[in-house]
């Protein structure tokens, strides 16, 4: 006998609105259905009605925590359309901001994960220490959340020697924070028992579901856009891509933890050999007719932008594929057979970002029934 437990749209475990209907037998999850789309904002359509330049600000607002990821990916795709190569210094600054944001995002995620496990003390401490990373971003960009650093053909703010000293000082503090985080993860036995061998996503299943980012690397799939197809200044950086084989929550935690260390390494390298020169191009050409495809390694995984241009100052089509779109589909596989108490941390373990993900919802007004729509049915619907 099973009963249905609704999680969401509004639930303390979810930071954004999404709906999970879980079939449970006692505490064991035996089935489930997910519904997203509560925050569909029509951004792709809006992007076709704005100029290339104003779309930078739109792209930044797709997601709060990974706004530089979106704006970097967008500007790089448009620069490809324009056949532009931004100055080296701009590329380095992009790398610095990108990795600083990764530090902020992962530290935030660690706090959220601890909170889901009921470890509020670690959550409070991590979020307090995250403040140092926020201060770095404030000094770099003048803002703390929506950084607004990227522009077409470069970046908008330069880095002065004082800021470099400031960042170096703060990074030493961040190193200590990371060390402490590692201590919590490695030494707390209750915490380990809550994440070890829970929510396992084996390698072949992960490949089938096309997961990306730390979720994929936690399952032993060795992908990272920063290394495989370097953008910005990543080709000159020396860094490792952390990999864990076991595919449980602990391995995803460890991947993110090692990425924190790698991020500080990348920031240190890029401020050390920051080249001199201008930070942006003076003149921008009109984009060529045609299409461009850009991808970056966001904090949650690979982010893809596809832009089609018809030679005017507005894009004809902008397609965004956020990492959470693909990662969300792996949630059900991880949850089946686990306890209800583990569901919040399983959801948190892929670091989902629902509002960036939300696309189109089909609402059937006439009948109030709910059904699963298969791809073949959707095709038939389109043909009719």
């Amino acid at each position: 006998m099973s009963e249905v437990i609704p999680i969401g749209p509004f639930h303390p475990a979810l930071k954004e609105a999404a709906h999970f209907e879980l079939e449970v037998e006692g505490e064991k999850v035996v089935g489930g259905d997910f519904k997203f789309g509560y925050m569909h904002r029509g951004i792709e359509d809006l992007a076709t009605k704005k100029s290339y330049h104003s779309n930078i600000f739109l792209a930044e607002r797709v997601c709060g925590i990974c706004n530089t990821v979106h704006s970097t990916c967008y500007t790089q795709t448009v620069e490809a359309l324009m056949n532009l190569d931004p100055p080296q210094r701009a590329k380095y600054i992009r790398t610095i901001v990108f990795e600083t944001e990764r530090l902020a995002s992962h530290l935030l995620w660690f706090g959220v994960g601890m909170h889901e496990l009921g470890y509020d003390t670690a959550y409070m401490y991590l979020w307090r220490e995250r403040e140092h990373v926020m201060e770095i971003m404030e000094r770099l960009c003048g803002k703390r959340v929506n950084l607004g650093i990227n522009t077409l053909g470069g970046v908008r703010r330069d880095i002065s020697p004082e800021i470099i000293d400031f960042i170096n000082g703060k990074l030493d503090i961040v190193d200590k924070v990371i060390e402490k985080t590692g201590k919590i993860i490695n030494e707390d036995r209750i915490l380990k028992s809550r994440v070890k061998n829970i929510g396992i996503l084996p390698k072949d299943e992960a490949k089938k579901l096309c997961v990306v980012g730390p979720t994929a690397r936690g399952s032993g799939i060795d992908i990272d856009v920063r290394r495989d197809e370097p953008y910005a200044a990543y080709s000159k950086m020396d860094f490792q891509v952390p990999l864990e084989e076991s595919g449980d929550i602990l391995s995803r935690v460890l991947v993110r933890f090692k990425e924190l260390i790698e991020s500080t390494k990348i920031i240190r390298q890029s401020i050390k050999d920051l080249p001199r020169g201008p930070i942006s191009l003076e003149e921008l050409p009109f984009p060529n007719k045609g299409e461009a495809f850009g991808r970056v390694e966001g904090h949650r995984g690979e982010l893809v932008y596809y832009i089609k241009s018809n030679g005017t100052n507005r894009p004809e089509r902008v397609k965004i594929r956020t990492p959470s779109v693909v990662n969300n589909s792996s949630l059900l596989y991880m949850m089946l057979g686990e306890k209800l108490a583990d569901v919040p941390i399983i959801i948190a373990s892929i670091d989902p970002c629902f509002s960036c993900t939300d696309r189109v919802t089909i609402v059937e007004n006439k009948s109030n029934s709910r059904k699963t729509v298969l791809l073949s049915q959707l095709k038939r619907r389109r043909n009719n």
Binding site: P12, A13, G26, E27, G118, T121, M124, R194, K339, A341
Partner: protein
């Protein structure tokens, strides 16, 4: 006539309802403040609990249509009555109001009321979160009641008496039972955590998993009553432990200070641990707390 009035005064004012509510409210605040300071937060002001209760009592109470109305409302009252009956049996400051040769057994029964009330609340609220919370609380009760009762029975076997007064008087003369039966004391303190629903044993009310567990559907006055229960728990469970294992108190100040010590201990444990999953906490209670209690029970049966 005067005796009846005295009993009523004792039950409702001191050391009954109002006294234990004020002390419990302050202990509850102290827990929250200390926890906040240890987590680098500011924490609430001292009157936060009383303000919360006043606000809740002035609000509309909604009884969901799927709930069983009378059980839904009676559950917190049931819990308050149980706790009040315990407080009159506790010798707060050397002498208790109600004395009976079987008071230990009675107190153990009444102390199970809050847990039972939570189960009733969860089941009667008609919400899936309530049902899950109630089933968790029921599983947890199996885990914690056994070591809790056994650790108290250790003392009864030692003294060949079920009177709480005799336990306290023995401790006044021979020192606290903490020194004589440390393992039973530890088991009893471990069981305090699930009784007050604190980490690592707060799975029945785990907010990130099942929202508020049994209390999800509560609002207004019934929720206010559950807040009162919460405050009473913060006083009465530590007070009972102080009475049994920590030597009671010859006057009220000493008694309350010992209770405060226990509150601080509970707070520290609450701050430094994450939450156990329900099966993990069940295993922990049966694998660690229960053997500790049984070892001391055997000692008291065999060696005396």
């Amino acid at each position: 006539m005067i005796e009846i009035l005295e009993t009523l005064f004792g039950l409702f004012v001191c050391p009954g309802f109002i006294f234990s509510l004020i002390v419990g409210g302050l202990f509850y605040w102290f827990y929250r403040k200390l926890r906040a300071r240890m987590q680098a937060r500011i924490g609430p002001p001292w009157y936060q609990f009383f303000a919360d209760v006043m606000k809740l009592f002035s609000k509309d109470s909604i009884i969901p249509s799927r709930a069983r109305g009378y059980l839904f409302v009676l559950a917190p009252i049931f819990s308050i009555i149980g706790l009040l009956l315990v407080v009159v049996m506790l010798p707060i400051g050397a002498c208790s109001l109600m004395q009976s040769p079987e008071s230990l057994i009675m107190a153990m029964y009444f102390l199970a009321f809050p847990g039972l009330a939570l189960i009733i609340a969860g089941v009667s609220s008609g919400s899936p979160y309530g049902a899950i919370g109630a089933s968790r609380e029921a599983r947890m009760m199996v885990g914690y009641e056994l070591p809790y009762v056994i650790s108290a029975l250790t003392l009864a076997f030692h003294l060949k008496s079920l009177d709480i007064m005799s336990i306290v008087n023995y401790q006044f003369e021979n020192g606290a039972f903490l020194l004589k039966y440390p393992l039973a004391s530890i088991a009893s303190v471990i069981c305090l955590l699930p009784k007050i629903c604190r980490r690592p044993f707060d799975a029945p009310e785990a907010d990130t998993e099942i929202i508020g567990g049994p209390l999800t559907e509560y609002s207004g006055i019934p929720l206010g009553l559950f807040e009162l229960v919460n405050a009473l728990k913060w006083f009465i469970f530590p007070a009972f432990a102080v009475t049994l294992f920590f030597g009671g108190g010859t006057n009220i100040i000493e008694f309350l200070l010992k209770c405060l010590g226990l509150v601080i201990l509970i707070t520290i444990i609450d701050v430094i641990f994450p939450r156990f999953r329900i099966d993990q906490s069940f295993k922990f209670l049966l694998k660690i707390a229960l053997p500790l209690a049984i070892i001391d029970l055997l000692r008291s049966v065999i060696w005396i």
